[in-house]
């Protein structure tokens, strides 16, 4: 066994020594608390809690810390922001000269005041916006990590569902937040939102009128949005995040496969003090990045867009990235509208803005249950899958991400057309074609790549790796020396956790001549088809040469028998 820590070296076991008794004063203090709350047992269990260490496990932490930064910076902003739609005149003494004397809403005016009159106000506003972007980016990355490593599997389905809720609410919260300043860009976004609500059959017109307090823009809407943005959604987010953390803590974190790591243990650093300190340091690191961005990179300069005016619009209007994909679906959609019996159904808005996100979030929510059902895998899983070891799932995830990428790019079709001097029609038609073509291509390519990588892992675990050293044997034959991979490297491949074929179906007729019920159940047929499509690997699973389908026992044999190995040693002398 070799240590993976750079510069480290293993040392023989230290002589066993018992811990020193704890200082009396500490014990007394803890005892006082313990007698009232029973905390000592809790501390004993939880301070020693082991957390596995991997960079990909920090993505969720970035989301958590961005959320803390959002709460801190957002609270500061509420001290100055006025969510009003009354018209005020920007004072002729206002610090931003180009807008002096112009009518605007209180919301926009107070945003200008935060940016130009409050010391540090602009910084905190920019920190708030950058942290929101980081929050969503980290959530998306974290969600991908969970998906591609199968960390949503039993027992963690509930936390996956909470996660889907957090993505959805984060998206709404971000949209609500950047709509509050009532500038030209965000007002246009709200106009679009109203148009989308209106497209919902039967209830849309009423829903729009109730939510906005009347016709667009609605005098009550900004104050309502403010309450939603600073109280309602953050409150739900906070409680969901708390539940997310408690469940994660209770179920213990997943870990990557590796030496000594099993489905029944956790290998890593103890929570106290190392993990606690490191994660605290990571909070400051996340905060430092948002502060650095806010010092150097301008974000959402509402004073350049100007106050909202329903008759005006800026060219090249782009929402924040987490809304951008919905902008793309709206732009790509052909102009279908149905008129039935005095009613209009606008498929051109309903499908891209309501149906597609509905399908996406629903599919995300049901995926863990669907996969378990199709693969008949209801076991407890605490080891992360390496994405290559689950080609079907990985390919599906990449296909979905590809589609989202197409949407996001389509959301900037005007910018792309202008920058690269391509006709707007050409870019739009390209994206419409890409909508159908790219995801299947991405699926097939990813599955092939995964299987190839899996094949290579299994091969090198079985045969060792090529050292690049050519030696001449005593009989004059030249061979390349192959060396066995270190055991820990093989263990980290997680070959024993590879996706096998789904369990065989029952035979149509059993040995007693009884027809199988499941074989004639249409639902079972669907299950088999999805399984074959998604989960069955294309190539025969490799064995490690021992015929048991497992390469994890570390027998990465060299290719040569022992006798020839000896020859090699002398052969090496000749080559020197």
């Amino acid at each position: 066994m070799t240590t993976m820590k750079p510069g480290g070296a293993r040392k023989p076991a230290a002589t066993p020594t018992g811990p020193k008794p704890a200082p009396k004063i500490l014990k007394k203090g803890l005892g006082e608390v313990d007698e009232r709350f029973g905390t000592a047992g809790f501390l004993k269990r939880n301070l020693n809690k082991v957390f596995p260490d991997h960079w990909s496990f920090m993505l969720g932490e970035i989301a958590l810390y961005s959320f803390v930064i959002l709460l801190l910076s957002g609270t500061f902003l509420t001290f100055f922001f006025r969510p009003g739609t009354n018209t005020v005149i920007y004072p002729t003494t206002g610090n931003y000269v180009p807008l002096r004397g112009l009518p605007m809403t209180e919301a926009f005016e107070s945003t200008l005041r935060i940016s130009f009159d409050v010391r540090g106000g602009l910084l905190i506003r920019q920190i708030h916006h950058w942290a929101a972007l980081l929050f969503m980016a980290a959530i998306v990355a974290h969600c991908c990590r969970i998906f591609f490593t199968g960390a949503f599997r039993k027992p963690r389905e509930t936390n996956w569902l909470i996660g889907v809720g957090l993505v959805t609410l984060g998206l709404l919260e971000g949209f609500a937040g950047y709509s509050l300043p009532d500038d030209l860009l965000s007002g246009t976004g709200l106009r679009i939102a109203y148009g989308i609500v209106e497209s919902i059959p039967i209830v849309g017109t009423y829903l729009g009128s109730f939510v906005f307090g009347g016709q667009f823009p609605g005098p009550d809407f900004i104050p309502r949005l403010f309450t939603i943005h600073i109280l309602l959604v953050p409150g739900i987010l906070l409680s969901l995040i708390t539940a997310h953390m408690i469940i994660m803590w209770h179920q213990k974190h997943t870990q990557w496969p590796g030496e000594h790591r099993t489905n029944d243990n956790v290998v890593g650093a103890p929570f106290y003090p190392a993990f606690m300190a490191k994660t605290g340091g990571f909070f400051f690191a996340t905060f430092a990045v948002t502060a650095g961005l806010s010092a150097l990179v301008q974000i959402n300069p509402v004073w350049l867009y100007g106050p909202y005016n329903p008759a005006q619009v800026g060219a090249g209007s782009q929402p924040d990235f987490y809304i951008g994909w919905l902008e793309g679906t709206l732009r790509m959609m052909p102009n279908l509208e149905t008129h039935v019996d005095g009613h209009t159904i606008s498929w051109n808005v309903l499908i891209p803005a309501v149906v597609i996100p509905g399908i996406l979030f629903t599919a995300m929510a049901v995926y863990p249950f669907l996969e378990a059902w199709v693969t008949r895998d209801y076991a407890i899983h605490n080891i992360c899958d390496r994405p290559r070891n689950r080609p079907g799932r990985t390919a599906l995830g990449v296909a979905v991400l590809t589609e989202l990428g197409v949407f996001l790019l389509a959301g900037g079709n005007d910018v792309l057309s202008e920058k690269y001097d391509i006709s707007l029609y050409a870019t739009t038609w390209t994206f419409r074609a890409a909508f159908f073509i790219l995801p299947p291509l991405a699926f097939m390519a990813t599955r092939r790549i995964c299987l190839g990588l899996q094949y290579r892992d299994a091969h090198s675990a079985q045969h060792g790796y090529e050292t690049g050293r050519i030696v001449m044997l005593a009989n004059g034959e030249f061979i390349e020396v192959e060396a066995a991979l270190p055991e820990d490297v093989v263990a980290r491949m997680g070959l024993e956790y590879r996706q096998g074929p789904p369990p065989a179906l029952e035979p149509p007729v059993d040995e007693h001549g009884v027809r199988s019920k499941s074989r004639h159940n249409p639902l079972e047929k669907v299950r088999g088809r999805i399984g074959a499509f998604l989960y069955e690997p294309d190539v025969e699973p490799l064995t490690n040469g021992h015929g048991d389908g497992h390469a994890s026992n570390g027998h990465a044999d060299g290719e040569l028998p022992a006798a020839e190995q000896t020859e090699l040693t002398s052969g090496q002398g000749h080559t020197d």
Binding site: L122, S199, M333, N335, V349, N413, Y425
Partner: protein, 326 residues
């Protein structure tokens, strides 16, 4: 499991170590002292950053120009970044250089209880249900269901006054017969000859200040002067234009953005939000993009004073489609 754990200090209060890592600084106290000094330096950098923040806050006391704002934001932001980054680097270096780097191991205990406990828990629930008598006493069950079901209604009912019923508000605008076409910026009536060939302006029926935001949001109209003779009026709309001047709703029929771009050469209106494109001389029908309907046309003429006026209101609702729109 235990055979895999190589090192385990007997009597330790900590989880067993499976991989004891000895770094150079663990073996050499001088190196450890050097690591300590480096960590302390990072914390001092952080403290300097915080003092810099206070200095920047005091040094730029009033933000009277945009330049002040820019420098204030820069110095406050940079010093805050230094302050936070110093803390982050110091703490993380402290963990990595001083605190033990051993990997420890902990068993995962099965979350599930024993079968016996599961049985007891299930029985408790069953017994509890029996104690309530709800299975036998259906009168309680039904009346409670009714009471709780009804209780949900006030919650919904209270939401009723969130907004007015839409009624026909989406169908109408402030445009009436004889409404003047006022320049939206200045409020002055637009006269024949004000517009050059190939140009356009946004017009409203009443000055913007005198309209509610809700009326203003659906009222704007684009008055466009086309090149002579290119307008091909739709059947029944032969009198709706006046001397190559046409007027169309500025609100996109897709999701309601104001249409801001007029391509003079191709006579097309382009919505900057989702690129719906309308062919102006051909009754503003959709030639590209997600909008499904042509822009509604406002019939116009010129009065005795040479000022543009509407001859009738819009013959259809403006803006995005909605379910009740026929």
């Amino acid at each position: 499991m235990s055979d895999q754990v190589e090192l385990h200090d007997e009597g330790s209060v900590r989880p067993p170590i499976i991989e004891r890592v000895v770094r150079p600084q663990d073996a050499d106290p001088k190196k450890a002292d050097w690591a300590e000094r480096k960590i302390a330096f990072m914390f001092l950098v952080s403290a300097a950053g915080t003092i810099g923040f206070i200095a920047a806050y005091i040094a730029i006391p009033s933000l009277s120009t945009t330049k002040d704002v820019r420098w204030s934001n820069f110095w406050l932001g940079i010093s805050l970044t230094v302050s936070l980054a110093g803390l982050a680097a110091g703490i993380i270096a402290w963990v990595r250089w001083i605190m033990p780097a051993h990997e420890v191991v902990q068993e995962r205990h099965t979350l599930a209880a024993s079968d016996a406990d599961l049985e007891i828990a299930s029985q408790i629930i069953v017994v509890g249900v029996e104690e309530t008598g709800i299975a036998r006493r259906s009168l309680i069950k039904r009346s409670l269901g009714l009471a709780l079901g009804l209780f949900a209604l006030p919650g919904v009912l209270l939401l009723r006054d969130l907004g007015p019923l839409p009624r026909k508000t989406l169908d109408t605008t402030l445009w009436k017969a004889n409404s003047p076409l006022l320049n939206a910026e200045t409020g002055d009536p637009v006269k024949l000859g004000d517009l050059e060939i190939g140009s356009f302006t946004t017009v409203v029926p009443v000055p913007v200040e005198q309209m509610s935001e809700e009326d203003y949001a659906k009222t704007p109209v684009l008055l466009i002067r086309l090149e002579p003779g290119i307008n091909k009026p739709a059947p029944g709309r032969e009198n709706w234009a006046y001397q190559d001047h046409v007027a169309y709703s500025k609100i996109c029929t897709h999701v309601g953005c104001p249409i801001g771009l007029y391509q003079k050469q191709s006579h097309k209106l382009l919505c900057p939000c989702h690129q719906s494109t309308f062919d102006v001389p051909k009754a503003c029908k959709v030639v590209f993009g997600p909008a499904a309907r042509a822009l509604p046309q406002l019939p116009i003429t010129v009065n005795a004073d040479g000022e543009f006026i509407a001859t009738a209101p819009f013959d259809q609702p403006v803006g995005p489609s909605f379910f009740e729109r026929s």
